[in-house]
Amino acid sequence: MRKKLVEFRNVSFRYGDEGPWVLKNCSFEIYENEWVAIIGHNGSGKSTIAKLLNGLLFPQEGEIIIDGKQVNEESIWNIRKEVGMVFQNPDNQFVGATVQDDVAFGMENRGVPREEMNKRISETLKAVRMQDYRLTEPHRLSGGQKQRVAIASVLAISPKVLILDEATAMLDPSGRKEIMETVGSIQDQRGLSLITITHDLQEVVQADRVIVMNNGELWKESTPREIFTQKEALRKIGLDVPFVAILTEELKHAGVHLGAAPLNHEELLEDLWTLHSRT
């Protein structure tokens, strides 16, 4: 059986005692070696979920369990070792004076000995293909490079859960692609569970599962394939579906009925091909 790494049990949260509820009775589970995408309109509560996951915030109601341990004031030190997080703005999370200092920061906090640090810096920088920039200062790096360093910094403490909160939002398409390739291959190698929060539909398609947030409620939870068949409903809550899903729907209107909803170009073309060779 797959191991359950993250569990939200009826979590509700609001900023301050007077504020509106930003999360309302949310429950979900995430397993090891799984890639879950969280989508939702601006202000739907995605970043709040991320911050609750490693104890930057605590819920007023319900509980959050990470790898069997409940998140609370006492456990956060250990929780933060299990849950690594990369934020949106490349500049505002670069702590070190150079690349290697930044990767070391998390390890220094945990008292990792120096030789071990050096070893892990080499390893993780190689994993994100930044090994040639060890001594570079942040203002000489592009946004995408800074984000790769941020990922390396998080990997250096070997978390079990990696959260990317719109980590690619400020990058150009090639920067995005590089980050997603890097993250994908790291997930394969390390078997960690990956949570990506994003507005980029291409990223969502690659996930195993999607959680859709709407106004602080968990609106739906399913595979990308299933989610993206609901074009109208998604548009109503401020989201959209990828080109392939739109084309599939238009094909249906034109009288071409495909079987299961294809997710990418290959699948769509394959479906069309079978359709044509079957008759």
Binding site: H41, E166, L171, E250, L251, H253, A254
Partner: protein
């Protein structure tokens, strides 16, 4: 207003050890009333180019002409204000430029600087608020109490209230959710048509370039790499890939379709619906042939 770049070169920090050529020998022309998309990967000089459009930068070499204004080392207008009142620039993350106590004051800031009378400004605020999709109830609120998407709209309203002839947009939809992106782009498109603007759009989204632009200019390392209509530009997949750019997803799909089925669906910027019908036709014909 017509915009012309003639052999423009721009060097940051000239005559220092850090001199950096951000634009090199760039020439192109933007026709009055058109929408031009500028595309290029990070560091290719897009933002530097934009700064020439309202005189924030003056070419190190060559000349920029915007309507009757000329910008070059020989012709530096003494007062850029007039030019800046006619060319409105929406910078990347424009919400970062808000500073006034209320939304109304912030929107009025630009027009005031350009000497628009208060009464006229009041009228303009009334017009511009619905145009950007806000309600009048936000006017007396602090801009810092609004959501990110609303702040962006306030900042855009501040640019529109100056009533520019040229609208320059530097990645105006970055960070918004899909609906916000579509609403903002549709809004600019509507304004462009209603007010006969000339629009320059810097974007990383090939989809938006395809959907909204009349012409596309592709930059690479500060030089012009390609220029043409969306159809012309996006039919050159290999060339674009050589500068790390993609073609829109629709074009990618049509290419793959051709590889697989041996049948070409020419790309003419069709709607998805039309493409679906063409695919249906082709499949029908293929089946009849067998």
């Amino acid at each position: 207003m017509d915009i012309t770049f003639e052999n423009v070169t721009y060097i940051y920090q000239q005559n220092t050890p850090f001199a950096h050529k951000a634009i090199q020998d760039l020439s192109f022309h933007i026709e009055s009333g058109s929408i031009v998309a500028i595309i290029g990967h990070t560091g290719s000089g897009k933002s530097t180019l934009i700064q020439h459009l309202n005189g924030l930068s003056v070419p190190t070499e060559g000349e920029v002409r915007i309507g009757e204004y000329r910008l070059s080392q020989e012709h530096k207008p003494k007062d850029m204000k007039e030019l800046r009142s006619r060319v409105g620039v929406v910078f990347q993350y424009p919400e970062h430029q808000l500073f006034e106590e209320t939304v109304a004051k912030d929107i009025a800031f630009g027009p005031q600087n350009f000497g628009v009378p208060e009464a006229v400004i009041k009228e303009r605020i009334k017009d511009v608020i619905p145009a950007v999709g806000l309600s009048e109830s936000v006017l007396e609120r602090s801009p810092f109490d609004l959501s990110g998407g609303q702040m962006r709209r306030v900042a855009i309203a501040g640019v529109l209230a100056v009533k520019p002839d040229v609208l320059v947009l530097d990645e105006p939809t970055a960070g918004l959710d899909p609906r916000g992106q579509k609403e903002i782009m549709d809004m600019f498109y509507r304004l462009h048509n209603e007010q006969d603007l000339t629009t320059v759009l810097v974007t990383h989204s090939m989809e938006d370039a395809l959907k909204y632009a009349d012409r596309i200019l592709i930059l690479n390392k500060g030089t012009k790499f390609m220029e043409g209509t969306p159809e012309e530009v996006f039919s050159q997949k290999e060339a674009l890939q050589s500068v790390q750019l993609d073609v829109p997803e629709m074009v990618q799909f049509l290419n793959r379709f051709e590889e697989k089925f041996g049948q070409q669906i020419p790309f003419r910027n069709q709607s998805v619906e039309e493409i679906a019908q063409m695919i249906q036709q082709i499949i029908k014909e293929l089946n009849q042939d067998e």
